[in-house]
Symmetry: C2
Subunit: 444 residues, 2 copies
C-alpha cells in the first residue's frame, strides 16, 4: 500500500461512523477510524444496562473486531481535541492525523437547557459508564431504603423521577418501575412494592411527541397500568439533592434521571462551522460542509435538511444510512465512478418498549402496540445488534429475564458508589427486625 | 417472630459467610448478613473477567437473591468499621448491629510484603473493580502500543509481568498470553504476536508450590509452550512505572500484575484477637475465639489448626466447609440439639487452568493434566457457581470463547482509564500507515 493513497479519517465509531467505514471496505483509500472508546455501543439498549437486565458487554463490540477484515482500515483509540482545517489534520492526544477526506460522526451528549448544574443531580445515559453509574444509584437507593429508620427519608429514596417523555424516558420509566417494584416484592423486607413511586415528567402535552398521537396515548396508559405516574404539560423548574419541582408541586426524591434533551458534540467548534440551536453542524444534502465538499458531518452531530424541509431525525437508522451514503460517495470519488444518487432517508419506523411485554411501534401505515409490538421490537433490536455474540447473549439474557423475572446484572460496582453514609449517621436503625412476607412461590 | 430470638450476625457474604447463612435457614434464630457489596462473587473466576473472557455479572449473584427464601435472614449492605465486643454489637456506617452470636468471614486482601508503594504499580485482583481496572489496563497497553512510534516504548507496553507463581499467577499468565497474542494476531496492525512478552515471576523454586511437584513442572512446560517466560527462584526487588527488577535483571514493562501474597482482612484488629503473621485470627478447632465460644472466624480471615498440625488452606472449599460447620453448630445450640461432630476438612483437590485447553488437577491419589484436566476444571467451576443464571451464562461464554477464540467482554470502561497522554506527548506517530497482514481465515 503506497503512501500516496487517499486518506479518509472517520471520527467516531457509532452507527454513522461504522457504517461509513464499512462502505469503504473495498475502496482504494486508506481509512483511519478514531474513537475515544475501544468499542461500538448499541446505544438504544443502554437503558437495559442501567436497569440491570443486560451487561455492558452484551451490547458492545470491540471496534477492532468489527473492522478486522477491512485491510485498508486502521483503528485508533484516541481523543480528538480539534480539527486543523488549514493543514488538513485531526488533532488528537496521540498526535495529529492528516486527512484528505474527513467524516465527523461524534454524536451527541445531554443538554440541560442552560441548567448545567443539574448534570450531577439528574444524570442521563449516553455511555456505558453513565449506565453502570445509574444502575448503582438505583440499586443503592433500594439498599438505603432498607436500612434507614426514617420513613420520610425512605419515601424519598423510593421515589424515582424520570425527566423527558421521549422514547428513552418512556423506556427508562417502564424498566425502572419493573426493576424496583419487583425487587421490593422479592428481595426487600422493610418496604412494600406499593411504596415505590415512579414519575415520568414531560414538559410537552404528551408522551412520545414524535409518534402518532394514538401511540403516545397507548404508551401512557400502559405505563400508568404498571404504576408510573405520568406528569405531562409541566416543566421541571428545580432539581436538588433531595427533591424535584414540577410546576407548583415539590416532590421529595433522591433519584432523578435525565432523558430530556441532547445537544451535538463539540464538532461544530472544531470545524468552525455554522451550527443550529442544539449545536448541530449545518450540512448540504450530501452531508458535506457548504464550503468544503471533502468534509462530511453525519448522525446526531449534523443538521441535514431533507427534501420535505424536515431535518433528518437523530436516530440510529438515520445515522447508519447517512454513513452508508457518505462512504459510498467517497468510494465513488476515489475510484472515479459516478456519484451515488442523492440521499433519501428510508424511515422504517419508530419503536418504544414499555416494560417486559408491551411496546408501541410506528411503522408508517401500520401501528403496533401491546405484546405484538414487544415481540417485534425485540426481534428488530436483537437483529440489528452488531456482532453475533451480542445477538446470542442478548437473546439469552432476555429469554431468561422474561421467563424468570430475574435480573441478571444487578451489581453495584465502581468507586463512585462509596456507601453514602448520610443515611446512617442520623438514623440508628432498629437492627435485625425483619418484617417478613410470605415466600414467593413463583419462578426461582 | 419475637424480639427475644437469638441474633446471629454474619459479616461477609463470600463462600464462608454465605454457607453459614444457608446452614442457618431452618434454625430458630434471627440472621443478619452484612456485606459492603450487594453481590456474592465467584472469586476463582475473577481472572477471566480481568482477561475479558467473562463479564462481572457472569460470576456474581445478588446476595438478596441467593438468600431470598430464608425467612429468618436479613441482608444489610453496609461497611463494618469495628466490633464492640463489650456491648456485643457490630459497628457499621449504617449504625450499630447487636449480636448474640457473631460469624466473621471478611476474607483477605493483597499483601505486598511491606512494599505498599507497589500496590498502585502492580495491582492484584480481589474485587470486580480490580478486575475491570486490570482489563482496561491490559487492553489500553495494546492500544497504546498500536499508536506509539517509539519502538522502545512499544516493547515496554507489550511486556506483561505477573508476580507470583501460585494458581492465580499461573492462571493469569496463561490467560494474558492468550488474550494479548491472539489480539495482536487478529486486531492490531503495528506489532506482531511474537513481540508480546509475558513473564511469570516466582520467588520460590517452582510454580504451584502447594501442588505435587510433577504438576508444578507440567504447568511450567505448558506455560512455556504458550510462550510465557517463567522466572522461578528469584524475588522481585523493584517495581516502578516502567520497569521491574528480578534478581540482577531489569526488564522494561508498563504492565505488572500482582498475584504473590494475601493478608487477612482487618478483623483481627476489630476483635482485638491474636493473629498470625499474615493477620489471620487464631481460632479453636470449632472456629470460635479461644476466649469467646459465641464469636467465630472462618475462611481466609482465620488461622485454624487441623489435627495434622497444618492450618486450613485459604481456598474456597475450605471456607465453604467451615461456614457449613459453624452454621450447623449455631443451629444445634439454638435448638438445644447435640453439637455436630468435630470439623474435619474434606480436601477434594486443587485445580489450576492454563489457557484454553490445559489444566492441572491434584485429586490426591489422582493427578490430571492436559485437556482432560481442563474439562474437569471447567465442569467443577461451572457446577459450583452460585445461581443457575451464572451457570448458564458462563457455560455459554466459555463455549463461545472456546469455539471462536473470540473474547466477549473486551471493553475499556471506567473513568480511571482516561487516555494516558504520556505516550502521545513525546511521540509524533506516523499516522495512517498500517502495516497490513494477511486476513485471518479462521473463525469469525
Amino acid at each position: 500500500m503506497s503512501e500516496a493513497k487517499h486518506k479518509v479519517v472517520i471520527i467516531g465509531a457509532g452507527f454513522g461512523g461504522l457504517a461509513a467505514a464499512r462502505a469503504l471496505a473495498q475502496a482504494p483509500v486508506d481509512v483511519t477510524v478514531i474513537d475515544k472508546r475501544n468499542f461500538h455501543l448499541f446505544q438504544p439498549l443502554l437503558y437495559q444496562v442501567a436497569t440491570a437486565a443486560l451487561s455492558p458487554a452484551d451490547i458492545s463490540a470491540p471496534i477492532r473486531s468489527v473492522l478486522r477484515h477491512q485491510r485498508n482500515t486502521r483503528v485508533m483509540l484516541a481523543k480528538v481535541n480539534d480539527i486543523d482545517r488549514a493543514n488538513r489534520q485531526v488533532m488528537t492526544d496521540a498526535g495529529p492525523v492528516p486527512f484528505d477526506t474527513l467524516v465527523v460522526a461524534t454524536g451527541a451528549r445531554h443538554s440541560y437547557f442552560g441548567r448545567e448544574e443539574w448534570a450531577d443531580l439528574a444524570p442521563g445515559i449516553k455511555t456505558v459508564d453513565d449506565a453502570t453509574r445509574l444502575r448503582a444509584r438505583l440499586l443503592m437507593s433500594l439498599e438505603q431504603a432498607e436500612i434507614t429508620a426514617d420513613p420520610v427519608e425512605r419515601q424519598s429514596l423510593l421515589t424515582f423521577a424520570i425527566v423527558g417523555g421521549g422514547p428513552t424516558g418512556v423506556e427508562l420509566a417502564g424498566a425502572i418501575v419493573e426493576l424496583t417494584r419487583h425487587a421490593a416484592r422479592r428481595d426487600f423486607r422493610r418496604f412494600q412494592a406499593n411504596e415505590v413511586r415512579v414519575l415520568l415528567v414531560e414538559a410537552g402535552k404528551r408522551l412520545l411527541a414524535t409518534f402518532p398521537e394514538q401511540l403516545g396515548h397507548a404508551a401512557r396508559r400502559a405505563l400508568e397500568g404498571m404504576g408510573v405516574e405520568v406528569r405531562a404539560g409541566q416543566p421541571v423548574s428545580e432539581i436538588t439533592m433531595d427533591r424535584i419541582r414540577i410546576g407548583d408541586e415539590t416532590i421529595p426524591t433522591r433519584n432523578v434521571v435525565w432523558a430530556a434533551g441532547v445537544r451535538a458534540s463539540a464538532a461544530g467548534r472544531w470545524l468552525d462551522a455554522k451550527v443550529d440551536r442544539v449545536g448541530r453542524v449545518e450540512v448540504g444534502p450530501d452531508f458535506s460542509l457548504p464550503d468544503d465538499p471533502s468534509i462530511f458531518v453525519i448522525g446526531d452531530t449534523a443538521s441535514a435538511m431533507q427534501p420535505n424541509k424536515m431535518t433528518l431525525p437523530g436516530v440510529a437508522p438515520a445515522a447508519k444510512q447517512a454513513g452508508q451514503y457518505v462512504g459510498a460517495l467517497i468510494a465513488a470519488r476515489a475510484s472515479g465512478r459516478a456519484a451515488p444518487k442523492p440521499f433519501a432517508y428510508r424511515n422504517f419506523g419508530a419503536l418504544a418498549t414499555i416494560g417486559r411485554d408491551y411496546a408501541v411501534a410506528d411503522l408508517g401505515r401500520m401501528h403496533l402496540k401491546g405484546r405484538l409490538g414487544w415481540f417485534f421490537w425485540s426481534f428488530v433490536h436483537v437483529w440489528f445488534l452488531v456482532g453475533y455474540r451480542s445477538r446470542g447473549a442478548v437473546a439469552l439474557s432476555w429469554a431468561w429475564s422474561y421467563l424468570t423475572w430475574e435480573r441478571g446484572a444487578r451489581l453495584i460496582t465502581g468507586a463512585e458508589v462509596a456507601l453514602a453514609t448520610r443515611a446512617g449517621e442520623d438514623a440508628a436503625p432498629e437492627p435485625a427486625k425483619p418484617r417478613l412476607e410470605p415466600a414467593m412461590t413463583s419462578a426461582s
